[in-house]
């Protein structure tokens, strides 16, 4: 064990784990990332790439503020990633729409955004736009669209290139990444530190361990005394052939990848660890896209897939220190892309307990602890 600069092991080499690792490396720590198996449920390889704030934390001010901090940090973060990795993640943060075909749903969302606005004050802005105004501004929007919300800070990145950029950046910053190293057990060692038992029979010693393994962290987190239990939520996605033309909008359900294909998604289903796609949901996605933007009607879908979101019981992130085993941390969230700039910076201060650490008490997992009080 190196006493002067002990090594931190990050369990999980997806977007969250690599972001956390990058932050620790940039803070001068030695970091070892253990990535899981190819067959693991990998949210980082199936996601939509949104950098998104609309609606987030409308009912929980700490999450609204944390998300808002992340949105404000994305431009500089994308530049830093490009410097470290040589990869442009195609950040486009020029505002995003949420389209509605049902007036009551739109009203409900408008009320949520108004509450989010109250939490954030002048750090947030949003508009509600009627269908007719939308059609006047953006030719092609379908007659079935009753309106949309719009927020200036929302955007997206190319999600696969982002994952690759993180991986390259972690290497460039001096991090060690071991692939195909699923961790079966984390055992607190006598005298401090942890022994990690890999599924392949090997073992690894860590001074500190940060669990960032998404759906794969459940059993490890329970062993280390954490209360949070994450669950999978399936989203299905379509991607079309690449188009020469640019769509005139970005929405939370329809986005054009910088390379030209249109990604369509946003469905939610609680079906356990089943990431298969289903015909009726895919048909519904296609219908939704054509309702919002009829020029997509004859565009071919070339691929479809399901992927599993990582959802905590209340949907908010979990940042927790083990009270039983000092040196063990749990970091898990649904919005790993949006929150990455914070995971790759100030979260390192929180893990290290420096004076610059953000106050993340609101995201502790004691909110999930079963009360023993009568």
């Amino acid at each position: 064990m190196n006493r002067t600069n002990p090594e931190i092991t990050v369990v999980g080499g997806g977007v969250v784990g690599l972001s956390v690792a990058l932050g620790l490396l940039l803070a001068g720590r030695r970091v070892h990332v253990l990535d899981g198996a190819d067959s693991d449920a990998r949210a980082s390889q199936g996601n939509f790439g949104l950098v998104w704030g609309q609606g987030k934390g409308w009912n929980y001010a700490p999450y609204a503020k944390w998300t808002s901090d992340a949105l404000a940090a994305w431009t500089a973060f994308a530049r830093k990633l490009a410097d470290l990795s040589g990869i442009d993640v195609a950040l486009d943060q020029s505002g995003g729409f949420e389209f509605f075909t049902d007036a009551a749903e739109m009203q409900e969302f408008a009320a949520m955004l108004a509450q989010q606005q109250r939490h954030l004050g002048n750090r947030f802005s949003h508009e509600i736009i009627t269908g007719d105004d939308l059609r006047a501004q953006m030719p092609g929007i379908g007659g079935g669209v009753v309106g949309a919300s719009f927020s200036q800070m929302d955007g997206h990145v190319n999600p696969l290139r982002f994952l690759r950029a993180l991986r390259v950046a972690v290497g460039a910053a001096g991090g060690r990444v071991t692939m195909d190293a699923p961790v079966a057990r984390v055992v607190p060692a006598t005298g401090g530190g942890f022994d990690l038992a890999m599924a392949n029979g090997r073992t690894s010693r860590a001074d500190k361990v940060v669990l960032c393994a998404g759906l794969g962290a459940t059993a490890l987190a329970a062993d280390l005394g954490f209360s949070a239990r994450v669950a999978p939520q399936r989203g299905e996605l379509l991607i079309t052939e690449k188009l020469h033309d640019r769509l005139p909008f970005l929405s939370s359900t329809i986005r054009q990848v910088d390379e030209g294909g249109v990604q369509i998604g946003g469905t939610k289903a609680d079906v356990g660890l089943d990431d298969s796609e289903t015909l009726d949901v895919m048909a519904g996605l296609a219908r939704h896209a054509v309702t919002v933007y009829p020029p997509l009607a004859d565009v071919r879908v070339v691929r479809a897939w399901g992927a599993l979101r990582v959802m905590s019981p209340d949907g908010y992130p979990v940042y927790a220190r083990s009270s039983l085993y000092p040196g063990a941390y749990l970091v898990t969230c649904h919005s790993g892309v949006t929150l990455a700039p914070l995971h790759a910076s100030v979260l390192a201060d929180w893990i290290e307990g420096t004076s610059a650490a953000p106050d993340l008490e609101a995201f502790d997992d004691n909110r999930f602890a079963i009360s023993t009080a009568a």
Partner: protein, 105 residues
């Protein structure tokens, strides 16, 4: 052991189909794929990638998407998965397809 081949010989009916390709008239045996007809015609490139590279049919089984052409106004049509038809109008697929209603750019 005799294995029945999934590769079928072209029908020997002698029937032909005439179609238009980039303004030229091509005659091909009925029942063959458009990709085969275009390769037999000249073997020259039948599409340009978004980056401007020339490509022609390669895998002939619907996988590689190198044989994309425009057929009767429908862009990105896989020529290897399309049979020649009398009177079809075929053009090279140049770059990425356009969105309908956005064709003027």
């Amino acid at each position: 052991m005799i294995i029945v081949s999934r590769f079928q010989p072209p029908p020997k009916t002698g029937a032909t189909a005439e179609f238009e390709y980039e303004g030229a008239s091509i005659t091909a045996p009925q029942g063959i794929s458009l990709a085969a007809a275009l390769l037999a015609h000249s073997g020259a490139y039948t599409r340009q990638t978004a980056g401007g590279d020339a490509r022609a049919a390669f895998c002939m089984m619907g996988v590689c998407f190198e044989c994309l052409v425009e057929v009767d106004g429908v862009p990105n049509t896989q020529a290897c998965m399309t049979q020649v038809r009398q009177g079809m109008v075929v053009k090279r697929q140049i770059g990425l397809r356009r969105l309908n209603g956005c064709n003027d750019s």
